[in-house]
């Protein structure tokens, strides 16, 4: 079979595509068919079944903020996934509450997905409600005014543009809120 591909170009092409498509189809087309939680938004109102909450589509303002997040490449340095590692749930928890693990059903409305690959800065999957608006304003103007030693670039063109800043904060404050993981009165606006 493989010997024939030595002399016959069409045979070589057919064989290499056939081998490629076995793995290609089984790992891209099949998984979402098998695992339906990839497409079903998270919703649970029964505390007995675990953490409650509901994932809803973003508002127009949040979408605008998200577009800025994509445009500025925030996702090159910030991931949005609490992994199945104790260190992730502890580190990204807040005021003594562990951050819940991120599950595929929380990201059904994410397009483009913002899972990210690199943590030059901290993970943002559960950042919603941790810091107030004034904190974000100062931080976007110059991150080092609030966090000494930070290497995040300053974003004055966001902080100084009221429309962009409002959208950005609206998006950030909503991150990770599909799951009600902290006391309701504990979220900053």
């Amino acid at each position: 079979m493989f010997q024939k591909a030595d002399n016959n170009a069409l045979w070589a092409i057919g064989l290499s595509l056939a081998l490629f498509f076995i793995g290609g189809i089984l790992t891209t087309v099949v998984p979402p068919l098998v695992d339906t939680t990839w497409a079903k938004p998270f919703e649970n109102h029964d505390p007995a079944k675990g953490i409650t909450g509901k994932v809803v589509p973003l508002t127009d303002l949040q979408k605008k903020g998200r577009a800025i997040y994509v445009r500025e490449g925030c996702w090159y340095c910030h991931t949005q996934q609490i992994r199945t590692l104790l260190a992730d749930t502890k580190r990204y928890g807040w005021r003594g509450v562990d951050a819940p693990i991120s599950t595929p059903d929380e990201f059904v409305y994410d397009d483009p997905h913002m899972f990210g690959t690199k943590r030059t800065g901290p993970d943002l999957a559960r950042v919603g409600g941790k810091y107030d608006e004034q904190w974000h304003k100062t931080h976007f103007r110059n991150p080092r005014d609030l966090v000494k030693g930070s290497v995040m670039p300053p974003y004055p063109w966001i902080a100084n543009d009221p429309a962009e800043f409002k959208a950005m904060v609206a998006y950030l404050q909503n991150l990770g809120r599909g799951k009600d993981w902290r006391p309701a009165n504990d979220y900053e606006k």
Partner: protein
């Protein structure tokens, strides 16, 4: 084998020999070397931004988030893929014993490719970013990439179809494999993702990102190594059978591994396990290739002292072995819990794309350009310096980031250490990375200048 000559050497060509025009190869190589230099400047700037975070920080289009995609796309598509395509335009006609099917089509492809890269510079700096890694370019440029790739593919495949020698050397399979797999991998990463969201989209995105390296740069890179290592050392390839093992196992194994980019993440555990199993199996194609190329050099290693291209090639093979040992190891859940998302990963990625595949492309360019122009290389000493600068700078870059990244991952797993302390801890690492980056850039400058001076110089000595 029939004697073959470049157009520049036509005076010395005997009657009946195939004379290659090489215009397409020439233009692809020259533009790719130019992008290597230009994007190298961007690379040094973003390395500097880690050391001086306020550097050029008040202009939106010079911020890290805009320059990084330009660096990645510019190096991958402007330099490396274009150089690889240029070398394919040179190598494939020679292995087939015929002229390139159409130089006109080839030149049109070169022009279109440059339009795409210039479009990428403008759109990425303007912040028109689709939000997917390696697939940042807007859809209208994606379509042009597909068109250019079809033009490249048709030209190469038609050349293969009209070949004089029936048996196809391993370089031809790898090039054909690259053309076909790239087509589907690129469509998945840039178009199929448009119809998916969330985890499903991420899975398609990672299939593309992983296979951009595994089924685009790996096969075309190995195609080049398989041609130039025997050619530059005048030694026949060790084993044809072993090269078949490497090729067919690559074809089967590589595509399964995309989900290893999301280990421990929000994606099904069973899919993570499949990706881990196949990542470990990657050792088969890699070791088959590496053994074959090492065995080819048996008794010939002394040639590395004399030949800069050969030295780049064999260093690339060593980096290939190392990168592809790291890859399967990272995919093990325990190792991944430490190194994933840290600075280890850019260390690993740069060893693959710079240390291995760019070294192959640089070697090919050094080897081919003097022949295409019918001149001697402008300066052997300068070529030697470019090797050592890239080698020492590269090692400085890779090794410090591995150490730093491992340390960083170790600290992250102790959640009593505040995140910012793990950032501050890495500052010396980033300073060393910047200095290494400057050395690498100096190597690129010498390489680019040497090639340009060879092309433009009036030295008419025939190449050895």
């Amino acid at each position: 084998m029939q004697a073959q000559f470049s157009k520049a050497e036509v005076a010395s060509a005997p009657e009946g020999a195939v004379v290659h025009d090489d215009a397409t190869a020439k233009w692809f190589l020259i533009s790719s070397v130019a992008y290597f230099f230009i994007v190298g400047i961007i690379a040094v700037i973003i390395a500097a931004k880690f050391v001086w975070p306020d550097l050029m920080g008040t202009m939106s289009w010079l911020t890290y988030g805009r320059l990084r995609p330009l660096h990645v796309n510019g190096m991958l598509f402007g330099w490396l893929l274009a150089a690889d395509m240029g070398l394919a335009y040179y190598v494939i006609p020679r292995l087939c014993g015929v002229k390139l099917w159409s130089e006109k089509l080839g030149l049109a492809t070169a022009i279109l490719w440059n339009v795409i890269i210039l479009g990428a510079v403008v759109t990425l700096l303007a912040g028109l970013n689709q939000g997917w890694e390696y697939a940042e370019l807007p859809w209208y440029l994606d379509i042009l990439v597909v068109v250019a790739w079809i033009m490249f593919g048709v030209n190469i495949l038609m050349t293969v179809a009209s070949r004089k020698h029936q048996a196809m050397y391993v370089t031809i399979w790898y090039t054909m494999g690259c053309i076909l797999w790239t087509a589907f991998v690129y469509l998945t990463g840039n178009f199929a993702t448009l119809f998916a969201t969330g985890t499903n989209q991420a899975n398609l995105n990672w299939m593309y990102v992983h296979n951009a390296v595994g089924l685009i740069f790996t096969p075309i890179g190995l195609a080049i190594a398989y041609y130039f290592i025997p050619r530059a050392s005048s030694t026949p390839l060790h084993s044809h059978k072993l090269s078949m093992v490497g090729f067919w196992s690559l074809a089967f194994v590589y595509v399964w591994t995309g989900a290893h980019h999301m280990l421990h993440g929000p994606i099904s555990q069973w899919l993570q396990t499949i990706s881990i199993a196949f990542s470990v199996m990657l050792l088969i194609p890699v070791w088959a290739v590496v053994y074959n190329l090492f065995a080819t050099m048996k008794g010939q290693w002394h040639q590395l002292r004399e030949s800069v291209p050969l030295r780049f090639l064999m260093s690339g093979v060593v980096f290939y072995l190392l990168t592809c040992f790291q890859g399967p190891m990272h995919s093990l859940r325990t190792v991944n819990a430490i190194v994933s998302k840290t600075d280890w990963i850019p260390g690993h990625a740069h060893m693959a794309v710079l240390g291995c595949f760019s070294f192959f492309a640089i070697a090919g360019t050094y080897f081919v350009m003097p022949k295409i122009f019918g001149k001697a290389l402008h300066s052997e000493a300068m070529a030697n310096w470019s090797y050592w600068l890239l080698m020492v700078g590269g090692l400085g870059f890779f090794v410090t980031l591995w150490l730093g990244g491992f340390w960083q991952g170790w600290q992250w797993n102790n959640w009593s250490i505040p995140f910012i302390d793990t950032v501050i801890a890495l500052r010396p690492i980033w300073l060393v990375r910047f200095v290494s980056g400057v050395m690498m850039f100096a190597g690129i400058v010498l390489f680019a200048y040497n090639i340009l001076a060879t092309a433009l110089g009036d030295d008419e000595r025939a190449a050895a």
